[in-house]
Amino acid sequence: MTLLSIEDLSVVIRRPGRRVAALSGVNLSVEPGEVVGLVGESGGGKSMVARSIVGLLPGGSRTSGRVMFDGADVLTMDAAELEAFRGHGAAICFQNPRGALSPTRTVGRQLVDRLVTHRSLAPAPAREVAAELFESVGIRSPRRRLDAYPHELSGGMAQRVMISLATGCAPGLLIADEPTTGLDVTLTREILNRFRLAANAERRGVLLISHDLASIAEVCDRVVVLYAGTVVESGPGPQVLHEPAHPYTRALLRSVPDIDGRPVTATPGAMPLLTEAPSSCPFAPRCAHATQLCTADLPVAGPLAMDWSAACFHPRSGPLDDSAEPPVPAEIPPAGTVPSAGTATSPGVKESVLRIEDAHVVYRSRFGGGGHHALRGVSLSVAAGERLGVVGESGCGKSTLARVMLGLVQPSRGRVEVAGQALAELRGARLRRLRTRAQLVFQDPIGSLSPRRTVQDAIGEPLRAAGVPAAERASRVARALERMELDPSILGRRPHELSGGQAQRVGIARALVGEPDLIVFDEPTSALDVTVQAQILKVIAEVSGDSSRGSVFISHDLATVRGFCDRVVVLYLGRIVEEGPVEEVFGNPGHPYTRALLSSAPSLGAGYGGPQVELTKDLEEADAAGGCALAPRCPFATDECGEQEQELRPYGASLVACRRAAEIPALIER
């Protein structure tokens, strides 16, 4: 029997002066024991579906259609029925677990309270049940964790607590709204497997909402793709993810960089915000296959095979990688071959635009004592024309490294040279001038623009600071804008009037306008939607191709780095653990940490071909006493690893900070 069935659901949200058709005729079902993935970009209506199911629609919403759960229509329930339904029937795991947990009560208390309310347990046995639940979601030493406050938990741990809260009252349906956004790759996989287990163990239905196709691909039975509030494709996971029929699904999948290094294809345009239910195909304006029929009529979901349907007049067939597809938009050029392995140790003949020697950064805590050691002796250099990738999980020191490169953070030890001059030796106006030689492109595109300044002001700021006269400033801003393929009409706009993609183009234009020697991209695409991400990656690839300039691309996502970097540096807890040419690091990693990162990276394609390596513990559980920082988590660590500091030494064409790097392939065999 179907657990959840959504039939022809439409939601219109009305606000004064604004009207949004959030969902239009959505059909969707979840069976017991099934994991259904709901994917699409922001604005597609994913969260609105989740909210409809638990009756939490925003004010001013008008709904039509039915949301049938266990034979009852959720949309017509009264307050009391909804309350009962939310505890037992369906439960939600939110995107931001730490925000969804009450900060002033221990997590154990929050779970026990739920068990007492919804399962009518007495407090003492409820605590026992709570400890078991914690254990079942993979929380080690659960009894101790029951007394922890949310701020004492890491993001991954907090998400596990959320899952235990949601599953605790044995709901029939578990809804997870972007449960792994903001988590590291190694954790993402672990958390997603929890949902698979929740479906398998108790025949629960799971609705997994995500913008990230690659990561949910493995755990989903069926996938439903939303675009502008309509279901464009739904079907079994493998089919939809590997040979999608709807052009939008194909565009979406092609926009995602993959660790197997296949080219990313950008689709122009962005998702429309509909004010009325669409009367034609909402994807038609961006679609390469659109005909007159598409712009005149609304395609209905037509079955292609068992359980597989697409709302398209011209469904595609065949695998995604089929090169017979018309080559509509331009591809991102693959990484050039400018510098090679030799630059890892000596910057060769090319002039180096950035050189960092043995940089340490310690953030002192405000009230004396201790402090956080963010960088522990990082040395690297970037040559003109070179593209360096920096990867690592959150907390590894990536952002600190970016700040050091720009002189925003002074290293407590070590030396930073930009364009041949040491940052620490300059003061005042000369320091400011040197700072303009290196530019940063921020992770948060809109936040990095001053809310009260226009686009014109923002892009022109480096020029104004350099004292460029207004007329020349305007012409150079216009040129930068043109290079970003932005229309001059946006010059008078302010940041809140820009889309994420436009704002990031403005950010890149600002970095570019002063012709710097070095541009640092700090996670420039992680806040953007998938198809927009691909567009921005294309722009970045084009910009970083300038031979006079060095680029540093910082990301937690291995796949994006692979796309267009020449050389890669892997950071772990403030140290470089591996450094080498991109093909080497991805094809023949030396360090166990790099191997683990690659093993857990989600992939829709061939993925990482090498042997799988899994770290034995989560980061927050491992207290490194000394020696190799990875030793407490490393499956290959011996006693000696915990005693010796590891230094970078040659391994193939790379440098690897692991004394056992050469032995590891043999160890894995065993």
Binding site: G60, T76, L406, R432, T436, Q439, L449, S450, R464, R510
Partner: protein, 283 residues
């Protein structure tokens, strides 16, 4: 069709806010007209004495009667608006500028500059506002310029704290770093990015503050520390007429009181409305 209920409609807040703003603005517009056209709206000068009428009841040549000195109450009430509104607005403007500057530097610089400036503000804020105003006014003596200074001084610390708190969060935002990496100087960042973005709460508080400032001014004048007679000022008028009320001569003190009330109400409604609007857009 099912209507989602339970959550208050977002539009309601905004409509409430705009009605507050409208009412407040209309009141202030009327006051502004009175201030601008006071000489045209009254046939007597504010300090002109009618030797034939002292404490004359309303009616006839004096629509609101005359006071003890035989001055026309209607004319004085109108002309007093010029002084009261003028001093209050000037004082608040001065408080905003001075307070914001202190808050800006303290919040952005941090460290010892912050500590010193904030401790100085603590000293000012340790006294109840009105007592402080009384003390300083007694020290400086009366007069328009001094009154502006006194009222600005007692109100400035609040703006300094408000702006400092905003600045402290704004300086951590990415666009400030972006401006630094663009090569902007310290003052450039402060002036072009931090200041304009930190004034949002000031815009809400300032109109409310104008209302309070008028009350402080009237209070000082009532106690004899304000503008010297015979200049028309509401607080002084109330003070002069306060003895008449028991004798049944309400017209000497009630009209200035009512005008004061209406003005303060106008500023309060405008301020409340701006606050509501800021809250509803934040949500």
């Amino acid at each position: 069709m099912a209507e989602a209920s339970g959550v208050r409609e977002a539009g309601a807040d905004r409509r409430f806010a705009s009605s507050l703003i409208t009412v407040g603005s209309v009141i202030l517009a009327v006051v502004a007209v009175a201030v601008l056209f006071a000489p045209l709206l009254s046939s007597w000068g504010p300090e002109e004495i009618d030797p034939l009428a002292s404490l004359a009841p309303p009616g006839g040549a004096h629509p609101l009667g005359t006071d003890l000195n035989g001055m026309d109450v209607w004319s004085r009430v109108l002309h007093a608006a010029r002084l009261d509104v003028g001093i209050a607005v000037a004082a608040v403007a001065l408080a905003v500028v001075a307070g914001s500057l202190v808050g800006l530097v303290a919040g952005y610089r941090g460290g010892w500059a912050d500590d010193v400036l904030m401790r100085v503000l603590d000293v000012f804020q340790a006294f109840p506002t009105f007592i402080l105003a009384l003390a300083v006014a007694a020290l400086l003596g009366g007069g328009t310029a001094n009154l502006v200074a006194v009222i600005a001084l007692v109100n400035a610390p609040a703006y300094a704290r408000l702006v400092r708190a905003e600045v402290r969060s704004i300086r951590e935002l990415p666009f400030v770093e972006a401006s630094l990496t663009s090569g902007s100087s310290f003052w450039g960042v402060l002036w072009r990015h931090v200041l304009p973005n930190s004034l949002t709460p000031v815009r809400v508080i300032a109109p409310l503050n104008c209302g309070w400032a008028m009350l402080t001014l009237a209070g000082l004048s009532f106690l004899g520390l304000g503008v010297p007679l015979p200049t028309a000022e509401w607080g002084a008028m109330i003070s002069l007429g306060s003895g008449d009320v028991v004798a049944g001569r309400w017209w000497t003190s009630v009209p200035p009181g009512l005008f004061l009330l209406i003005c303060v109400l106008g500023f309060s409604l405008l301020g409340e409305g701006l606050q509501e609007r800021a809250d509803s857009t934040r949500r």
